[in-house]
Symmetry: C2
Subunit: 414 residues, 2 copies
Amino acid sequence: VKERLQKLRESARKLRTAPLAQRNKVLEKAAELLIERQSEILKANALDLQLLAEEATPAFRDRLLLNESRLKQAGESLRQVAALPDPINEVVEQKVLANGLKLRRVRAPLGVIFMIFESRPNVALESFSLAIKSGNILILRGGKESMKTTAAIYEILCEALESAGFSREFFWGITDSSRDLVKSLLRERQWIDVVVPRGGEGLIQFVVENSSIPIIKNDRGLCHVYVHEDADIKKALAIVENAKTQRPGVCNAMETLLVNEKIASKFLPEMHERLKAKGVQWFGCPKSVNILSGKSGVLSATDKSFDTEYLDLKMSCKVVASLDEAIRHIEEHGSRHSESILTESEKTARIFQEECDAAAVYWNASTRFTDGFEFGLGGELGISTQKLHARGPVGLKELTSLRWIIDGSGQIRG
Amino acid sequence: VKERLQKLRESARKLRTAPLAQRNKVLEKAAELLIERQSEILKANALDLQLLAEEATPAFRDRLLLNESRLKQAGESLRQVAALPDPINEVVEQKVLANGLKLRRVRAPLGVIFMIFESRPNVALESFSLAIKSGNILILRGGKESMKTTAAIYEILCEALESAGFSREFFWGITDSSRDLVKSLLRERQWIDVVVPRGGEGLIQFVVENSSIPIIKNDRGLCHVYVHEDADIKKALAIVENAKTQRPGVCNAMETLLVNEKIASKFLPEMHERLKAKGVQWFGCPKSVNILSGKSGVLSATDKSFDTEYLDLKMSCKVVASLDEAIRHIEEHGSRHSESILTESEKTARIFQEECDAAAVYWNASTRFTDGFEFGLGGELGISTQKLHARGPVGLKELTSLRWIIDGSGQIRG
């Protein structure tokens, strides 16, 4: 293991100064190989699906599944990342000090990144492309259910590196499903610069508890939409429906609806009608349950409801007395991911946006947009819910940090 | 403890949106109180010094010592931080997406910062001023040798908060010297956003091993100056002398001198002559020991020399065959803090600056400039040697991170 890590570190030094064209070539080659060798990947994927436990949910099975169109899409996003501008050596600040020293603050790769992810094998391709483009060496470790699929993908990534004139030592795709290896890697802070866990709460908890390496955490998304008293009802119905149902299993989906008491009795029945067709189940506070009494799929919220990330066609609902109560509810129960206010007042929106301490705070839009691709970052390694380093989608820039380059002419400190 | 942390979190929410004038008033008031109440502080400091163990080094004693002029200086830097522009809500990027969503990326405080420092009591003042200015709540825990001094300082900081209309709950100065409290706080990731250890290797190690909260690490500085074959000898003599001797006990001082073999036999004897007056002790590689044979204070380097941060009038010295060997030596032994190349060739300097992966890389200047004040950041909470979040001096901007504010007009995701 040490030897392997040492080689990755050497590769990191080389990759950091490799020309953009060579880094892009890796991605273009991987996109080609993905099509050329798709039968291999799909065969491995079929095996993984076969071995999947009976009790795996359809959603889980779907996340694991690859097919021609998903691979084609993955290839396209590899090419899109290749087309993005180079993040390395971008000068973000410069100044000349009184003593004549010229300072430039430039972007540099983080180094060696250890990413641990679950189920979706496409994550391997997206992460690899962002890492190589930003000059970072990646160690990847997927979920044990996707080991055969990811092994086939890793082979293609290594061949793409070789075609572009790098070596296989520029990547480590782990195909061993032991947790001990992961645990021991989490202590190798001499060789690994950053750990990125992307998955369920169990994984995040495990990494946070065991890592002595800095982490970019992609924690859960407990996102709220707050409908203020002066909201445009038509917009509100569409936004809440979208935030909850367009893709309920993802972290930027809405989990809790907050409604101002002044419009609750008008808005909630309309909202319920709209969501009925999608089969959404409600967990409401006493006031909302009262307003919706007799309607289908409405249950009383328990103590835990407002802290639950359903990732499903279920939602919590609470009637609040004021903007301030909404903000305080979010402060207490939110996961600092994405929050949205629906109001026709800019002043109200600005208070909400300033006081809600989340990575992305929306005014009159669905929370579903918090995504590296949507934000124009070319994809994402995950969506950070911590405050250090990066908040929200982790794209190319977020895979770099800033260092100082200083030109002098003999300056000494007095 | 939980109750205290909960109150700090509430304070963080208030401070985050408090007006600039109010935050500045805290610093101005603290600067006044520092002068008004200096006898109290100096009395407490005298007690700490009295209780100091006999075997404490003069350097340690000096770091702990406060006097009128040091307090005056501290007051001035509080006023300087107050005069700096507000980092909060600075818009660093904006764009409009094709769907009409308006994105702004703005600076926001980190939240609650737990800083652990050793000896120099002035660090409390500098850290407090940067934290309050950048909208962050600070928990401070100083070394046990300075507990009486820091307790007196904490009292003044609390009074300054109260004079500015905040409460004492906006700061927690820990006056309990138990390590258990520190250890338990390092697990409170629900309440504390960032931990900043600033001190010796023992402290850093302890925090890295025990914290589940993200860390900004201020590790050791093993800094190199490399004298290339075409260096201007006069500049080189002055820069190396400054980097080693101007203040040897700090992290940006030079610990290892690297010299190209083409000029070693000319340069090293002159350098030795220059440093003799300061009493610098050399730990040289065989070639440099050979060149300096018979000179005073020249010893042979051991296996450990090139990994030693002397923080003293001692240095390692190595003759290298090429620019590449110098870079590789730094890659292996450096701590990614500050490195400098002395050369008259811009091309050579650029290779060194790009390939040396340190927070600050100099061309023809002393490493001693890596410092928040020198860089115009208004001070520093420390000098980060990690790659995540911030590299180099941690000033006001580095105490913030970026979040997204998004304005829509009813956008939903398709």
